[in-house]
């Protein structure tokens, strides 16, 4: 018991750094959630292209990023590019790497939802004279996004958890600060356990928020995937 | 000789009575048909008899043994009763042959070779042996039901229960099943058959029980009941069912 009190004392002393780290974690997670969603929509749009080559390329893109670890891409940019004189900040590297990766996953969710869509409705819209971009923006996308809410909000949880990877490229996010704290105070178990609990709490917030969003946005009579 | 007998059998779901005071007996080699409107408790009756559900009152005597006693080995009882369902309930991941051998191997501990022999014998009887390597999804409804019957027969049961064996089948396939039941009758297989199907009840002969709201209201042979019965409920049921056909 006493050592827990001592531990919390140490945490309080380290408070500013840890809070700054938490801020950086939330910043990264928020940015890649937005850019990953936009990127996912773009990739999804390209996957519907009438051009075979374009479809093949997007398929290859999705498959490659789903099949390779994110940290290979992060290390390539962070440790590799300087050899060509290109030095990017850890945050920029993380944003670029995560966006490409998350976009691939989001595009796949959207494609799965699209396959479950009523094709007649899209046909009808085309017959009404809408351009294909209009059909996409006004009909396809809203429906597909609604159907994908569970998968997309699950991706937000993954974004938050995976942002901890950025500490391996010196981005001073939450887990990096916890790591620093642990080494300085020689408090490994308690510090990492606390980090785990913090992530769990943040994940819970996202879970609650996404349930709320789901209830608000789901169309009556349409089951999400 | 009496094979199966119930005395004052009652069943409730959450305090709601579904069967009340059922007295039924089935002799060895006999066929009885139970008819009645939807929700009257027909499936529940069959499920009570093989103890898939536990009756709330009364007794079931199976070959002189009270199988409602708490120390009854219900799994042994169920192994002696073949059950054929409306929706076939074939195991979709197993071939026709494996559907029939599964019980023999896993419940009877029969060696594979012997189980296959026995299964093929029953499949031959049901005229399904040439389909033994197929999977359920590759069969017609009538074929599925014949496999289900072979699966039940393979366990060498004391009695066969049918729960609406033809109601998921078109008339032609229903005929297949009716023929099978008639054939089994000639082989002196004891059977209890629940059905909506007037044609089935007529074609297989046997005594017919009329169940309504959990109570047996009448018993007689088919023509007796289908004819102008004095009870208006029974008349209404049969004229409506006849209209449905």
């Amino acid at each position: 018991m006493n050592d827990w009190i001592a531990f919390f004392q140490q945490v309080m002393n380290f408070g500013p750094q840890i809070m700054a780290g938490l801020g950086n974690t939330l910043l990264l997670a928020a940015i890649i959630t937005v850019t990953g969603l936009v990127g996912g929509i773009v990739v999804f749009y390209l996957s519907l292209s009438h051009n075979r080559l374009c479809r093949k390329l997007t398929e290859g893109y999705i498959s490659f990023f789903i099949g390779t670890p994110l940290i290979a891409l992060l290390f390539l940019m962070y440790y590799g590019l300087p050899q060509w004189g290109v030095r990017l900040s850890p945050l920029l590297v993380a944003v670029i790497g995560f966006t490409m990766n998350v976009a691939a996953y989001n595009a796949r969710y959207l494609m799965t939802a699209y396959r479950g869509l009523d094709q007649d409705e899209l046909e009808a819209a085309r017959a009404q004279g809408f351009s294909s971009l209009q059909v996409f923006r006004l009909i396809t996308l809203p429906q597909v996004l609604r159907l994908s809410i569970p998968a997309l909000s699950n991706q937000v949880i993954l974004n938050l958890k995976d942002s901890s990877v950025a500490f391996l490229i010196q981005y001073t996010e939450f887990f990096a600060q916890v790591q620093d704290f642990a080494v300085r105070n020689f408090q490994f178990f308690k510090a990492y356990l606390m980090a785990g609990l913090v992530y769990l709490a943040l994940v819970s917030v996202i879970v609650i928020a996404s349930r709320w969003l789901e209830r608000r946005l789901i169309l009556p009579g349409v089951r999400p995937l | 000789m009496v094979l199966l007998q119930t005395r004052n059998l009652g069943m409730e779901y959450d305090g709601k009575p579904v069967l009340r005071g059922i007295d039924l007996d089935l002799a060895e080699g006999e066929l009885k048909v139970v008819m009645g409107p939807s929700g009257c408790g027909k499936s529940t009756l069959l499920r009570c008899l093989n103890r898939l559900v536990t009756p709330t009152s009364g007794q079931i005597i199976f070959r002189d043994e009270d199988v409602t006693r708490p120390d009854t080995d219900v799994r042994a009882l169920r192994q002696r009763i073949g059950f054929v369902f409306q929706n076939f309930a074939l195991y979709r991941h197993l071939s026709v042959l494996d559907n029939v051998t599964l019980g023999l191997r896993k419940l009877r501990g029969m060696p594979l070779g012997e189980a296959v022999e026995r299964a093929k014998h029953e499949l031959r009887r049901m005229d399904m042996v040439e389909h033994h390597h197929k999977y359920p999804a590759q069969l017609s409804g009538g074929q599925k039901q014949r496999v289900a019957i072979a699966r039940a027969l393979a366990m060498d049961p004391a009695v066969l229960f049918f729960d609406e064996p033809t109601s998921a089948l078109d008339p032609l396939m229903s005929r297949e099943i009716i023929n099978v039941i008639n054939q089994l009758r000639r082989d002196n297989v004891s059977m209890l058959c629940v059905t909506h199907d007037l044609f089935l009840a007529r074609s297989v002969g046997g005594r017919v029980l009329f169940l309504d709201q959990g109570v047996i209201h009448a018993e007689g042979d088919a023509e007796q009941l289908f004819g102008n019965h004095s009870d208006p409920r029974i008349r209404a049921f049969f004229s409506q069912e006849a209209g449905n056909q």
Partner: protein, 217 residues
């Protein structure tokens, strides 16, 4: 040093990457199956415990759990070897996800078949073993492929606990040669190749045991 040389050097670490992936996937399978089975057979209290386990292990980042196990537990007097640390972090997390996959697949098993098996005189355990499990595993293939892929993609974390897998080789090589771009590009290709082999293998296995009309692909 050519790109091919780089690939060849990295490939020496591939054995460890595959070992880590297989061991963690196997842990995940065992845990996931246990979760699904206990959920099916156990009481309401058991289900509640499993739900808590699943929630916790799906909510903690792999890296954090790995650090708790490998760097944290020794401070509590429990030393855990690197590979076991991977299994207790990545493996358990995969188990939590696979448990969800299996539970969903169990719900797709036709209740009528379960009833028929019980009517035949099978015990609850026999029904699970001979009817529910074989169907559930077939229904779960897409979910399992996803999860194995995820395990493969998180396997580079093994370098942080000193396992000489592909990423560790790449870091050593890049420190020595300063040719990070080619090296990490090669890393991507090596993982992608392992991914393709893994996915092809699982689907080949699925095809071997595929039952007509049971799953639709």
């Amino acid at each position: 040093m050519s790109f091919i040389d780089i690939l060849a050097l990295l490939a020496t670490g591939a054995g460890y990457t595959i070992l880590v992936t297989l061991m963690c996937s196997a842990t995940g399978m065992a845990v996931g199956l246990a979760i699904a089975m206990f959920h099916r057979l156990g009481s309401r209290q058991v289900s509640a415990c499993l739900a808590v386990f699943t929630y916790v292990f799906r909510g903690i980042p792999v890296l954090v759990l790995l650090f708790i196990v490998f760097f944290g537990l020794p401070g509590m007097g429990i030393g855990v070897p690197p590979l076991v640390s991977m299994m207790l972090s990545l493996g358990l997390i995969a188990g939590a996800y696979l448990g969800e996959v299996f539970r969903g697949a169990l719900d797709s098993v036709d209740g009528n078949e379960v009833l028929a098996a019980q009517a035949m005189g099978m015990s609850r355990m026999q029904v699970l073993l001979y009817i529910e499990l074989p169907q559930m595993l077939r229904f779960s293939v897409p979910g399992m492929v996803n999860e194995f892929t995820t395990v493969l993609k998180y396997s580079p974390f093994a370098y942080t606990v000193g396992i000489p897998e592909v990423m560790k080789q790449a870091m050593a090589l890049s420190a020595a040669t300063l040719r990070g771009v080619e090296i990490y590009l090669a890393v991507g290709l090596v993982y992608f190749a392992i991914y393709k082999v893994l996915v092809t293998f699982v689907w080949a296995l699925e095809k071997r045991y595929r039952v007509p009309g049971l799953t639709e692909h």
